[in-house]
Amino acid sequence: MSLLEIKNLTAKLADEDKQILNGLNLTVEKGQVAAIMGPNGSGKSTLSYVLAGREDYDVTDGEALLDGENILELAPDERAAKGLFLAFQYPIEIPGVGQMTFLKAAINAQRKKNGLGEISTPEFIKLVNGKAKELGISQDMLRRSVNVGFSGGEKKRNEILQMSLLAPKLAILDETDSGLDIDALKIVADGVNAMRSPDRAFVVITHYQRLLDYIRPDVVHVMAGGQIVKSGGPELALELEANGYADIVGKAA
């Protein structure tokens, strides 16, 4: 069974009559790293939000199966509990809520759903400090409120920190590379690579080959007009880098 199977997914803005996903089909296998590329506004972030359950969108048709179960009716936290993780393109700031408080609440929510007791404070601190260090996240950042006062790149690293703490089954990384400096890009990629495993999959949304040099994808999908219009191997990304989207998108449209 595939880890993620999206069939004919159609979604519109909740507030407006604007359809963004137009019968999208996509399958992601366990252990796979799938890259999604596509022009600005093609609906990549929308896809990730719809999968994670953001309320701004209405699904009007289709389904999305995670481990064979349709997740589209579930609340966002239930989807998270099922192992879905989204690294946001624009991480949200939560003033007043301490980073550590937040991380602990998320970890404990997950543990509880798995029938585990709460994590002890020393264990938690050790865990976070270890991961933070790997990702070059300073103690000072851990002391601040969630994403408040973080630079663009720091926010992205923070998303990856959360991912590694929550160890999801399926991680969707929405332009996690944008805003990262070269060293950080390498650190983030190492973080992802270290987590690659036969029963975990990644969907990496990006505009640049650069990230894919570090995180080698198994497949590359091209999205345009709210659909996957072409799929191929890693060489597809190189092709896009050289020629742009005009050929593919033009043909599909």
Binding site: D77, A80, A81, G96, F102, A105, Q110
Partner: protein, 490 residues
């Protein structure tokens, strides 16, 4: 940090509409005859064995009160109160003035224990480091039933006792200060309180003394149809410091009960008073039946130069809250602070805020108010900041934010900002918004349930104020807020 987890726990485990302090205690009470008259005022004064001047003071207030009308400017609505249909005095019959804990009705001791306020010093002492000890004055309806750690405080020269006792033991101090901050003529409820106040706490900290422990009073309304009219007077003499905390609960009843307190604080030169309140009177049910009418006058006078008074309040209870803890910044270089969290849910109505009156030079004040409205409640911040002509270089910073949860509640902000001095710098900012959907989604994407996410975000919203509370009460207050917002989503 653990508090959030606890909050989250609490939110999960508590039923909607559950007020955990809603039980009643069965003790035989002695009540004054119902209604209000000069005779009742005399009755109360006699019961307390007060000096003649105090009776005259009360009678003056009573006569004045007869000429006053209930204020109507606040954004609160309730049926007219029949002041003749209340009991103005209720004391446990067994022993209204117990000399030691052994004389107290065990049912009352049990009540406080259930509320988490042990009155036996040895129980408090067990496992508590000396610096974390808290002295408690326990007021049950109209009388103080016990005050703990009095002897230890006395060693430091600190007087901490019920106001009734202070009137007997330290009449000259009481006479000098009572009514000097909130005059008997101040307002309808304060005047009523002056006539019929029953009990409350008295604190005097002598010059240069830093009070060796936190002081606290725990108010409990138990009897039906009884108004509670407590009076608290705290005097911090030159260069002294005291931190005081007040807590309150009441049984769940279908009728409304009146609580009209007066609190006066006096800070002399270089003195500091920190006054914290966790107000959790019974709020009524979600339909607005029952609950306490909390009509309170609290005022602090920074009488001496460089004195400081700081009010922190967490208001989650009461059907109606009408209270404006204020600071008169009379001494040069004096400072006033007001930190407030007011949570309203169900049919609660809150009209609360502060007054910072800058009279002295270089006076500073700071107001941080966080209002959270849910259910069908109405939550109003009302405040005054003023600088008089001679208050040169006065400074105020005000931040009042309101958060709305659900679309049936209201949040209102009514500040008055009056300056008569060019060199005074006033800055005021206010915002009203709802819990951000983006923040909710972000938290839920990380696996938190809707209620957990709300609790977390609300805790973030009120954090600046919570931090002002003494450590021991921060966790308690955090839980209380989460419980108060129970059932506000979904």
């Amino acid at each position: 940090m653990p508090a959030v987890q606890e909050t989250v726990e609490q939110v999960r485990s508590i039923d909607v509409d559950q007020y955990k302090y809603g039980f009643t205690t069965d003790v035989e009470m002695e009540l004054a005859p119902k209604g209000l008259s000069e005779d009742i005022v005399r009755y109360i004064s006699a019961k307390k064995g007060e000096p003649e001047w105090m009776l005259e003071w009360r009678l003056d207030a009573y006569r004045r009160w007869l000429t006053l009308r209930e204020p109507e400017w606040a954004r609160v609505h309730y049926p007219k109160i029949d002041f003749q249909d209340l009991y103005y005095y209720a004391a446990p019959k067994s022993n209204p003035a117990p000399k030691s804990l052994d004389e107290i009705d065990p049912a009352i001791l049990e009540t406080y224990k259930k509320l988490g306020i042990p009155l036996r010093e040895q129980e408090v002492l067990a496992g508590v480091a000396p610096e974390n000890r808290i002295a408690v004055d326990a007021v049950f309806d109209s009388v103080s039933v016990a005050t703990t750690f009095k002897d230890e405080l006395a060693k430091a020269g600190v007087i901490f006792c019920s106001i009734s006792e202070a009137l007997r033991e330290h009449p000259e101090l009481v006479k000098q200060y009572i009514g000097s901050v909130v005059p008997t003529t101040d307002n309808f409820y304060a005047t009523l309180n002056s006539a019929v106040f029953s009990d409350g706490s008295f604190v005097y900290v002598p010059p240069g003394v830093r009070c060796p422990m936190e002081l606290s009073t725990y108010f409990r309304i138990n009897e039906k149809n009884t108004g509670q009219f407590e009076r608290t007077l705290i005097i911090a003499d030159k260069g002294s410091y005291v931190s005081y905390l007040e807590g309150c609960t009441a049984p769940m009843r279908d009728e409304n009960q009146l609580h009209a307190a007066v609190v006066e604080l006096v800070a002399l030169e270089d003195a500091e008073i920190k006054y914290s309140t966790v107000q959790n009177w019974y709020p009524g049910d979600s339909e607005g039946r029952g609950g306490i009418y909390n009509f309170v006058t609290k005022r602090g006078d920074c009488r001496g130069a460089r004195s400081k008074i700081s009010w922190t309040q967490v208001e989650t209870g009461s059907a109606i809250t009408w209270k404006y803890p204020s600071c008169i910044l009379r001494g040069d270089d004096s400072q006033g602070e007001f930190y407030s969290i007011a949570v309203s849910n169900g049919a609660q109505q809150v009209d609360s805020g502060t007054k910072m009156i800058h009279l002295g030079k270089n006076t500073r004040s700071r107001i941080i108010s966080k209002g959270i409205s849910a259910g069908k409640s109405q939550n109003t911040y009302r405040g005054l900041v003023s600088a008089h002509r001679r208050a040169t270089n006065a400074k105020n910073f005000t931040n009042c934010d309101s958060l709305l949860i659900g679309n049936k509640c209201g949040a209102h902000t009514v500040p008055y900002i009056e300056s008569k001095t060019a060199s005074a710098v006033f800055e005021h900012e206010a915002t009203t918004s709802k819990v951000s959907e983006d923040q909710m989604f972000y938290c839920m994407q990380r696996g938190l349930t809707q209620e957990e996410a709300i609790a977390l975000i609300v805790n973030g919203f009120v954090k600046d104020v919570l931090q002002q509370l003494p450590m021991e009460f921060m966790v308690e207050a955090q839980k209380l807020i989460a419980i108060s917002l129970e059932g506000s989503v979904g």
